[in-house]
Point group: C2
Chain length 197, copies 2
């Protein structure tokens, strides 16, 4: 069995739900908001701030320069959060079998050979419906918001990892949750996790 | 059940084997070399020529200009093959449930809603081992050959479709056959195909 399962996901694609349910099925902990809490304690930053800065950045060079202070005052807040996040995720993985949702855990744990790397994506219309219905997002234009989130998350990966976010070759399994359904995603991932050495 | 399953694949990743075995399990035909034969009959080109020109092109603009005659003598051979390939794949899909390996069938059948789009990839070292062992490839540097094939196949997708080859969002399921194993890929895909509406 692959001991650690990382779930990278598009916002609104149900990756978090899949991760939680998969962890329940496998009887292992699921680390999601717990990581943010730990980073908050260790860094002193607010959880909401970490939630954003630990997974999103701005894609353009100009925005990058404007947002980052690393060029003239040492590491930026994002850099500090990144380093603490790396440390915490490695510590959690050391504890034993688990599911880790988001936070670039696939990249952070790349040197371990007991990690199953999953990517959950979904049709943008299904995601828009989901963020309004399930998450209670009240944005007038959820599709615009999703596109912005996708861009910023991809940019974060570009900045902190050598992974192209969402490129299938970086993952063992990629599933479209809007086609396959949340339940089937969970059962398929469980089967693969249990049967893969 | 999704009636038609398209399998896009990296060269040497076992996608063809997975497609054949999946079709056997589902009791439906698997179209692979049959497409090439049909394109050969309809176009007059040799099968070996179609095998290459119906899925590969050169990535650079210069090579594109050198290889393509479309700028000054009408459609190139590649363009002719593309059009015939599109027609044949659409006709095969009309016949009933099937598995179609390669030839951009995912893109060609994009307007149907009964297609399950699969991408099979694998670690490059595993692919190199496979092309030497299973396909009997005798290249001295199989990794170099694979990289060249990957580039040329990606370029073909860029030229003829609006799909980024290997980007997970274009597929319902992407699997790394070198991690999951051929057998498990077949069983997982069978489960998803049978259970997905």
């Amino acid at each position: 069995m692959k001991k650690i399962i990382t779930i990278s996901r598009e916002f609104g694609g149900g990756g978090r739900t899949i991760g939680k349910r998969l962890a329940e099925e496998l009887g292992v902990p699921c680390y999601d908001s717990e990581i943010i809490e730990k980073v908050a304690i260790e860094s002193g930053f607010a959880e909401e701030y970490i939630k954003d800065k630990g997974e999103y950045t701005y894609p353009s060079l100009l925005m990058g320069l404007l947002m980052s202070r690393s060029l003239y005052t040492g590491p930026s807040n994002e850099d500090k959060i990144w380093l603490i996040q790396c440390k915490i995720i490695k510590e959690l993985a050391e504890k034993g079998p688990c599911v880790i949702v988001g936070r670039c855990a696939d990249y952070i744990l790349r040197e371990r050979d007991d990690v199953m790397k999953v990517f959950i994506h979904a049709d943008i219309k299904a995601r828009a419906k989901r963020i309004v219905e399930v998450y209670g997002e009240t944005d007038e234009d959820p599709i615009k918001r999703l596109r912005d989130k996708d861009k910023r998350r991809a940019a974060y990966y570009t900045q902190y990892t050598d992974i192209v976010w969402g490129a299938s070759r970086n993952y063992d399994v990629c599933l479209d949750s809007s086609v396959i359904g949340i339940d089937r995603c969970v059962s398929v991932l469980k089967e693969i996790a249990l049967e893969t050495e």
